[in-house]
């Protein structure tokens, strides 16, 4: 552990094009204790949803977090935009001059800046407002994330009013139309006057992307945005997300369980298992050359649209099922399910005792496994 590191030390290591740097981020959820637990003085238990993870996101890239349900990928996304307060760790986020001034105004200069970065983990919620425009999130379910009683126009108007963007209703309406056109919801005037139920899932999700785009953010979390969209319309939503990056220079944290989609859309992929990042690298490196035994199993499990493979019973090299994030196995969390663990008796002692750290195996490709 790098305990003596100060925020300044972390920031010093960052490159010019880094937008967001997560360092040792932790998010634990306490489990409710019963009266008996309290009387018996049993220790408070936690769901260790995110457990000391670190990664960087550069400007204008799509970074995918993949893993099984319960691995902590959504919690990570929610924590990065401060919908959850982190338990500990740092989230360094680069802010422009304008936001910096607003932050100074609202806090009376009490928010610390480190070389142009602000540590999101340390900004109290009451001072987050200027940052909210820069951090946006797109949720999984487009059927419940739009208020059915409001027209699209009114739904999109609200963030503009709250953040005081645009001087008159007419000007705001213009901004809304532009955002709708940016996600190819045309004719924008027609869409703006509709209610959510008059749109398809894909269109609703693009309204959500437009909503994220309205406030001119620099970082957007997209949490499984296409999980509930029809197959034939998924690409439409994905292309809008690609536009976020390509036309607007926004960085996107794309959360998905589908490795094929992650491969097709992202520049970098991080693989999570039980609250830990186990492998990190470019999309190409992760899919074509997976190193961690868990990533290898995930990649082997991807269904391939080729009917010639139909007689094959796939060899998926993994044992058992994901354990709970409350009772995390000691050492490497993956070792109880790891096939490589059985095959390499020489590392077993280390796997059981010592938590592996991310090691750079080839340029930009990190893996947390004692085999390397």
């Amino acid at each position: 552990m790098t305990k003596e590191f100060t925020p300044q030390d972390y920031v010093k290591e960052l490159g010019e094009d880094d937008l967001l740097a997560v360092r040792d981020l932790v998010k634990y959820f306490p489990i409710r204790r019963s009266v008996i637990d309290v009387i018996a003085r049993r220790r408070q238990k936690f769901v260790r949803a995110v457990d000391h993870i670190s990664f960087d996101i550069k400007k204008g890239v799509i970074f995918s977090l993949v893993g099984e349900s319960g691995c902590g990928k959504t919690t990570t996304g929610m924590t990065l935009v401060r919908l959850y307060d982190p338990t500990s760790g740092h989230i360094f986020f680069k802010v422009d001059e304008e936001t910096r001034k607003k932050l100074d105004d609202i806090s009376g200069g009490r928010i610390k800046f480190y070389d142009g970065y602000v540590d999101l983990a340390q900004v109290p919620s009451k001072w987050m407002k200027p940052l909210r425009t820069k951090l946006q999130i797109i949720f999984q379910d487009p059927y419940s994330s739009l208020n059915p009683a409001y027209r699209i126009r009114d739904i999109l108007m609200e963030p503009l009013i709250i953040h005081g963007i645009g001087d008159s209703p007419e000007e705001r309406y213009e901004i809304i139309l532009k955002a709708l056109e940016a996600v190819k919801l045309v004719p924008a005037e027609d869409i703006a006057n509709r209610f959510p139920h008059m749109l398809s899932g894909g269109q609703r999700q693009r309204v959500n992307i437009a909503k994220a785009l309205l406030l001119n953010p620099s970082f957007v979390v997209a949490d499984e945005p296409i999980a509930m969209i029809d197959v034939s319309l998924r690409a439409e939503v994905l292309l809008s997300i690609l536009d976020l990056k390509e036309k607007f220079g926004v960085s996107v944290l794309f959360i998905t369980h589908d490795l094929t989609i992650a491969y097709n859309i992202s520049d970098y992929i991080g693989v999570m298992y039980l609250g830990k990042l186990v492998e990190l690298g470019s999309a190409e490196q992760i899919i074509k050359n997976p190193l961690h035994p868990y990533t290898q199993a995930l990649v082997a499990a991807i269904p391939i649209p080729d009917p010639k493979r139909r007689h094959i019973i796939k060899d998926i090299r993994i044992k058992g099922e994901i354990t709970s994030a409350v009772n995390v196995p000691p050492g490497c969390r993956f070792h109880p399910r790891c096939v490589a663990f059985d095959e390499h008796p020489e590392v077993q002692a280390r796997c059981k005792a010592e938590e592996p750290r991310l090691i750079e195996v080839e340029k930009g490709h990190y893996v947390a496994c004692h085999l390397y």
Binding site: E68, S69, S200, G202, Q203, D230, V231, S232, L233, R234, A235, E236, L238, L239, L242, H257, D258, L259, T260, I261, Y263, N264, I265, I287, A297, L298, A300, A301, I302, P303, I304, P305, D306, P307, K308, R309, R310, I313, K314, I316, I318, E321, I322
Partner: protein, 319 residues
């Protein structure tokens, strides 16, 4: 009906009679399921594939019902049977179903053993302990420890529950099993394991399997023949080798192109949205989204044309 057919569906119509109007969820679908075959029913949400699956057991949830056509099984027409007959002769004995969302398909207040034993007690007249013994025999076949008969559903993971659902569908050794999106709520690894299981069980039990899914990658890995549905109609059917290699219907072509692949990067979609099934358009239902649409498509509904060795497509391009 020739004897190598497990199911023969002819001109089936299933409508939902809602207050807002009649939703024609399945409109004139015909297909045959051979014995021992795996047939896939693919399509997007709302295309009628699940409704079709339910109707094969005559189990369409109200306000829906079979409005026409027939489903022959062993010379009997399931579509015209009474509830009583269906319960006694057909459901679970001849045709069983693995329901979508295994998480919620098991009763939370009964032990797994009791739930597996129930069909055996009702249909085979076994005593409870005999039935539980029988249930214990089938659990290892789906890769579960027989001892879980004493557990409650909440003690099992999603993948294990899905395996229990599969065991339950097989417990009376039916001829036809319908699996409705059996892996939708599951993680990638568990999904691959369940698909492996379905493949090996199919051989072992010699069942005819109908797999319903929106995911064509899954279809490719499992089914021998594939039917594509769009807006309540079957638009193409054929062996999966032929259909994946050379899709004929423009919708199938678009759908196959929409699957993201690992071999080449690229994102494609079919512009537009499916029609409202309360008011389906005249002519071909795909006309509004079709890149090759011409006059006749909007006037007349296309019948199935033979377009390959085993392949049929409902498109005027192949008249």
């Amino acid at each position: 009906m020739s004897s190598d057919l497990a199911l023969d569906v002819r001109d089936l119509k299933v409508y939902y009679y809602t207050y807002a109007g009649v939703v024609k969820a399945v409109e004139g679908v015909s297909f045959q399921l051979r014995k021992g075959e795996t047939l896939g029913l693919a399509g997007e949400s709302g295309c009628g594939k699940s409704t079709l699956g339910f109707s094969l057991m005559n189990l369409v949830p109200p306000p829906g019902r079979i409005a026409g056509g027939s489903i022959y099984l062993d010379g009997m027409d399931i579509a015209k049977m009474s509830e009583e007959e269906l319960r006694r002769k057909i459901r679970w004995k001849k045709i069983s179903m693995v329901f979508q969302g295994a998480m919620n398909a098991l009763t939370p207040v009964y032990k797994i053993g009791d739930q597996l034993a129930e069909p055996l007690m009702v249909h085979k007249g076994l005593e409870k302990n005999e039935a539980i013994e029988e249930a214990k025999k089938i659990l290892p076949k789906v890769g579960l420890d027989p001892e879980i008969v004493n557990r409650y559903p909440h003690e099992l993971s999603g993948g294990m529950k899905q395996r229990v659902m599969i065991a339950m569908a097989l417990v009376l050794r039916p001829e036809v099993v319908i699996a409705d999106e059996p892996t939708t709520a599951l993680d990638v690894i568990v999904q691959a394991q369940i698909l492996n299981l379905l493949k090996s069980l199919k051989k072992e039990f010699n069942i005819s399997l109908i797999l319903i899914s929106h995911d064509l990658s899954i279809m490719a890995e499992v089914v021998e023949r594939l039917a594509i549905m769009y807006a309540g109609k079957m638009v193409e059917i054929g062996s999966s080798d032929e259909l994946f290699a050379d899709p004929k219907h423009p919708y199938t072509q678009g759908l196959l192109k929409s699957i993201p692949k690992l071999t080449e990067k690229g994102l494609h979609y079919i512009p537009g949205t499916p029609p409202d099934l309360r008011n389906p358009p005249q002519g071909c239902r795909f006309a509004d989204r079709c890149p090759f649409v011409f006059d006749k498509c909007r006037r007349e509904e296309p019948p199935m044309f033979k377009v390959g060795e085993t392949q049929y497509a409902a498109c005027w391009l192949y008249e």
